[in-house]
Symmetry: C2
Subunit: 190 residues, 2 copies
């Protein structure tokens, strides 16, 4: 069950056997049932999650109670409210499971200790944070400047095959359009 | 002229004398005249800037040609389009100078070399990126959920005394309101 996460670390840093053991020893795991919450807005995001299996979504709820999906986190994705986690302040986002999901995770104090023990992790999470920032900014700017069709194409690229796993409603909420408009776009493309 | 930047590094990491010399040797400096640009949207953000004196602003221009200030960078602030810099892709933001400004800066390849030579810098820029993400997210959520008055108070806290240095127009653009509405808010508060 650790294969995916260590393959993910290996994208940016080289860990030796002892370091891998040290991280394994500190990693925790859990299974989240479909439609169950992992983080609620207003609570502090105490852990950073890596998805081994299943799919999470990160979303916010507006003043009218409407949900807006910010990102999906299928296998190999990290899920966290970075701002809440890194400052241990109340989260703006919610995280819940769209499928039964298995995650590995590190708590904030454990990760802080690991940074001291294995300074290479600074590099990994520096790059991960930069990538997160990049994705987040792309989301914001594409919502401002791209058409719904273009955003749908980007979604398909970003999340290959995810479309078959999650509902139309969830995808529409990610694209910022209604499910009816989404099925019109899909109809045009087939 | 290096005092501010090394005091800034010292907030998160301890550099020894040799490391400080190594960084000094690689740091470049320049002066940007008031109203002059440092980065244009669409270009690649090749450097990360630290402000020694003066004030920069980071802003985007919408489809109607309207400018929106995302952040101000007076003394002790770092200025960069993180997304563009870290991926060396076209910038979404513009950066220009609101006053004659002195910056120290590191180019992308120089910083990549410094990460190898002085791995502690990974920690510094990991924390800086997290802080940047946090500020950026706060900006987005406060625009969604806070009143103009509250945003004005946050601005005053975030940038003590900056109000006396920059125009009403620049502050209004940061708050997402008209200069007329800003002077009404200011009138109420005095």
């Amino acid at each position: 069950m650790y294969e995916l996460i260590f393959a993910n670390f290996a994208l940016h840093i080289k860990l030796d056997v002892a370091e891998i053991e040290q991280i394994k020893y500190r990693l925790q795991s859990k299974t989240i049932k479909k439609k169950t919450g992992l983080l609620s807005a207003g609570a502090i995001c105490r852990n950073i999650y890596f998805v081994n299996k299943g799919c999470l979504r990160i979303f916010n709820v507006d003043g009218e109670g409407e949900e807006h999906n910010v990102s999906f986190c299928p296998e190999n994705w990290w899920a966290v409210d970075i701002s809440s986690f890194s400052h241990q302040t109340p989260a703006f986002y919610n995280i819940d499971a769209l499928e039964d999901t298995e995650v590995s995770y590190l708590s904030y104090p454990v990760l802080e200790e690991l940074y001291i023990a294995i300074p290479k992790l600074e590099r990994f999470f520096r790059i991960l944070t930069q990538n997160g920032f990049h994705l987040y900014q792309q989301r914001i700017t594409s919502n401002l400047s791209k058409s719904a069709e273009e955003r749908y194409t980007l979604f398909q690229k970003q999340y290959p095959k995810l479309e078959q796993r999650i509902t139309q409603k969830q995808i529409a909420s990610y694209l910022g359009i209604t499910p009816v408009f989404l099925s019109m776009i899909r109809g045009r493309n087939t």
